[in-house]
């Protein structure tokens, strides 16, 4: 039962990622994921700073050149480092980041179930 719940949860997480091939939507999605490096916590999409506007132009250009979403992210990561992306990608640096909350959830569940088993 718990495994089933877990399966659904993971399924839903990944169901987030399908997006229409519409370039505009893709541009919005990418720029929302890019951090404006000279702002106090705004995405490139939300910001109107010079840097953000240049980034938007460049994203447009790359999309028109046929870059995929991942390629664009890789391009910017190469220039600025991982921290320009708001969605931390799952790599060796971020396993703990993503898995620790899930682990805590499962531990919590275990405690709850144990609490009932004790009294039987």
């Amino acid at each position: 039962m718990k495994i089933l719940k877990l399966f659904f949860i993971i399924f839903f997480i990944f169901s987030f990622n399908h997006l229409g091939a519409n370039t505009d939507d893709m541009k919005i999605k990418i720029t929302k994921n890019l951090r404006c490096l000279i702002c106090q916590g705004q995405s490139v999409y939300d910001s109107d700073s010079e840097f953000a506007n240049s980034m938007k132009v460049l994203v447009d250009k790359k999309l028109n050149e046929g870059f995929s979403e991942k390629q664009i992210y890789d391009f910017f990561k190469e220039k600025y480092g991982e921290w320009i992306l708001y969605d931390p990608e799952l790599n060796k640096n971020t396993y703990i980041l993503w898995l620790l909350p899930i682990l805590i959830f499962l531990i919590g569940g275990a405690i709850v179930v144990k609490n009932f088993k004790i009294r039987k």
Partner: protein, 172 residues
């Protein structure tokens, strides 16, 4: 027994957290993006300021000299303070200064150079600011010390006397 382990673990975890935060406080607060392992200069094409011709990055930095790529604009106030230092640096034959005019209007930029002097061997006209991004810059002014196609040092913010001294030493 179980209880004791729990107590010790909890206290240990908090001590570790304390140490991490303590060290984090010591670190410098200004973030300088660490470039990935290869510090090669980016490959790009750009428009030249005066001639409007397109040029390849390889053509710009081909000589076996030191280059300083300086990102500037007429509307950038700190650029004015660093400009005289750049003019000074042109006297050194070992280094060539290439300018990147960032998100500027041509007449404003020309007026700026007429007023303060032109230290640049060549100027890239980066109207949209996308060439600057190729360099991993995010503002004005920024400067890059280059030799043999490698970025030796990156300077964020205006140059000052000490930094120019450092550059002079590096290019000996």
């Amino acid at each position: 027994m179980n209880n004791k382990i729990l107590k010790i673990t909890t206290t240990a975890i908090f001590i570790i957290i304390f140490v991490v935060f303590y060290k984090a406080l010591q670190d410098t607060n200004i973030y300088t993006p660490k470039k990935k392992s290869n510090n090669e200069i980016p490959l790009f094409t750009a428009n030249l300021f005066y001639s409007n011709k397109q040029i390849n990055s390889s053509e710009l930095f081909k000589l076996d000299k030191f280059y300083l790529l300086n990102i500037w604009s007429s509307w950038c106030v700190p650029c004015r303070t660093e400009h005289p230092l750049l003019m000074d640096l042109t006297k050194n034959k070992k280094i060539e200064i290439i300018g990147l005019n960032y998100k500027d209007k041509k007449n404003n930029a020309e007026n700026f150079l007429n007023e303060l002097g032109n230290p640049y061997q060549e100027i890239i006209f980066d109207k949209e600011g996308i060439n600057a991004i190729e360099w991993g810059a995010f503002g004005v002014p920024e400067s890059f010390l280059i030799n043999n196609g490698i970025v030796i040092k990156k300077y964020i913010g205006p140059l000052n006397k000490e930094l120019v001294e450092e550059i002079r030493l590096l290019i000996k």
